[in-house]
């Protein structure tokens, strides 16, 4: 009997998986669904080991599920190095494993089809999360011609993966589930005829000599669209990247980033594991523990090296009520297993983060999820030439910016986690500030636009009044520039 790790019953989510499609994996038939990517379909079929590492020949499985970590590379229809986690399945596809360092040259079954589009916009927004979508709505209201690019097939950014209700102010959609906020923002974006949304379009570069932003949309293994775009203003709302940790066994299939686990569970409706250990008891770790339970996965423990959880107490209390152990002052020693995760060894640390002798515990799990923090995704900002600084309070390297979120690169704005790690509510408000500012710098909009910006800035200030934001506010001071002239 073949394995099926798909979730067919869930308290909140349902999935439109599409029609069944068949493909072969190393010669064996696999049944998948049209709306799945190759990696998702393989995971659903119980396959965890996707490649052999290049030198040590270790088995590896997907770690990020968004086309970045390179642990899911396979040969598809004779094309080597296909990122299977972002490539949709197609009927009759031939999928094969290979050592990516030693792969044969391409032997494609069909030639590459590229559609080239040259486009101009008033405002081009990279990233369709809460910040990018909000920016698009604000700029569009002012009458700007707007494009929004996102690498994912499902715009909405991190919101899409959130099944819990948000709190905060009404203006930032408090009381609504993340997925639903994404829907609200998206439908508002779609109401504006002057906004073009480009899902599955990965911005690959900004070329200063040509003044051109290029993005590539993958329409299939052999079909691509190359978007060559010129914007009068740009807003970078690329969100954040997950941090990783170095520990023995950190590359075993089954160890993955929290985001990858969320993508599998919530986007594709696939159980990434049966029993997990979650590393990191901040908001992400705690929320994902709750989501795991919703998906029918047993959370053996949520551990954090710090003496107190960084998560909102409501969330932490909720998972404690569900009897999931949150072990503070604990960290991971090693992960064991033959070809995949079989168990994890954790230990306690003292106030100086030194191991407490004899505190080692072994936990049997088949999944380890890392929720050890986020760091701003600033690559595109670098390509625009924005000046950056390392600000620990904001999670890493972030751009200098004005109060209107314009960076040191003229006409290039930043919003959301890319400007510093905060959360969806602040991302929405930053998006509005960047969107209104970009539009108004083009001479668009009038008093209403000014008013919207004023309000967004006021809400943002109000939100950041909370003591939790003291550190973040200090961080922002370090990269705040005077107004541009």
């Amino acid at each position: 009997m073949s394995v099926d790790r798909r979730i067919w019953e869930h308290p909140v989510l349902t999935w439109d998986r599409g029609e069944p499609v068949k493909f072969t994996f190393d010669g064996k038939g696999v049944v998948a669904y049209k709306n799945e990517t190759i990696a998702a379909a393989l995971y659903a079929a119980g396959i965890m080991s996707f490649t052999q590492s290049s030198i040590l020949h270790r088995p590896r499985g997907p770690f990020c599920m968004i086309g970045k970590c390179s642990q899911c590379l396979m040969r598809v229809n004779g094309i080597p190095h296909v990122r299977t986690c972002i490539t949709p399945v197609e009927e009759g596809m031939v999928v094969e494993t290979e050592n990516p360092h030693e792969s044969e040259f391409p032997t494609p079954v069909s030639s590459l089809e590229v559609e080239r589009k040259t486009l101009s916009y008033d405002v081009i927004i990279v990233g369709a999360g809460p910040a990018g979508l909000s920016a698009a709505i604000s700029a569009a209201k002012a009458g700007a011609k707007v494009a929004v690019l996102d690498q994912s097939p499902y715009p909405g950014g991190q919101l899409v993966k959130q099944t819990h209700k948000f709190f905060g102010t009404k203006e930032s959609h408090a009381g609504t589930r993340g997925v639903d906020i994404a829907d609200v923002l998206l439908s508002e974006v779609r109401d504006h005829e002057n906004v073009d949304l480009y899902p599955m379009a990965q911005a690959v570069g900004y070329y200063a000599p040509e003044g051109m932003l290029t993005a590539v949309r993958t329409d299939g293994v052999n079909r691509y669209t190359l978007l060559m775009m010129k914007g009068r203003r740009y807003i970078v709302a690329t969100g954040a990247m997950e941090r990783t940790l170095a520990f023995p066994g950190n590359d075993l299939p089954g160890v993955m980033g929290a985001g990858a686990a969320q993508t599998l569970m919530n986007v594709f409706g696939i159980r990434p594991a049966d029993e997990v250990l979650i590393i990191g008891a901040g908001n992400v770790g705690v929320i994902i523990a709750y989501q795991a339970a919703q998906a029918g996965i047993k959370v053996k423990a949520v551990i954090d090296i710090l003496p107190k959880t960084g998560a909102y107490l409501v969330h932490a209390a909720k998972i404690r009520r569900m009897r999931m152990p949150i072990l503070l002052r604990h960290t991971i020693k090693a992960v064991y297993g033959d070809g995949k995760v079989e168990s994890a060894e954790i230990y306690e640390v003292d106030e100086n983060f030194r191991p407490v002798p004899g505190s080692e515990k072994e936990i049997r799990v088949d999944g380890i999820w890392l929720a050890v923090g986020l760091t701003p995704s600033v690559e595109m900002l670098e390509k625009f030439g924005a000046r950056m600084k390392f600000v620990p309070e904001l999670g890493g390297y972030v751009p200098y910016r004005t109060q209107y979120l314009e960076t040191s690169a003229p006409g290039v704005y930043v919003a959301g986690d890319a400007s510093g790690i905060e959360e969806a509510s602040t991302a929405i408000m930053e998006g509005r500030i960047a969107g209104t500012s970009a539009a108004s710098s083009l001479g668009l909009g009038g008093d209403e636009l000014e008013e919207e910006r004023r309000q967004a800035m006021e809400w943002l200030d109000l939100f950041r009044e909370s003591p939790d934001y003291k550190r973040i506010k200090q961080g922002i001071q370090k990269v705040l520039m005077g107004e541009r002239v």
Binding site: S70, P100, T244, A246, S343, F390, G396
Partner: protein, 107 residues
């Protein structure tokens, strides 16, 4: 606990560099270039980190940490701003045919 194989801690998944390999590469860099010649770019070159399929997304942050820690052992304090390494385009590996034009005369 039954006898279990202790796996290496992998820093660079793409080119299979373990924590030990990375620390070894760091010290080789210091042997060759000295502290005055070393920097994050040289570390990348001695270790091959950031040059694989993931374009540094998996390893750079871990490498920066190793760099700071190992330098501290040599009594050198490194500010994170010195460790900024500008990632190159394309931001995602893309088939080169995407950028090919039909005629040689056009390029």
């Amino acid at each position: 606990m039954s006898e279990k194989k202790l796996h290496p801690a992998i820093i660079c998944r793409c080119l299979d560099r373990t924590q030990e390999d990375m620390i070894g590469a760091f010290h080789m860099m210091i042997d060759f270039l000295g502290i005055d010649g070393a920097d994050i770019n040289a570390f990348r070159r001695f270790s091959w980190g950031t040059t694989g399929f993931c374009q540094g997304r998996g390893c750079l942050a871990l490498m920066q940490r190793i760099y700071v820690n190992e330098m501290r052992k040599l009594d050198v304090r490194i500010s994170p701003d010195e460790l900024k390494y500008k990632a190159r385009s394309p931001a995602q590996p893309v088939p080169l045919g995407i950028f090919a034009k039909n005629n040689l005369e056009e390029v």
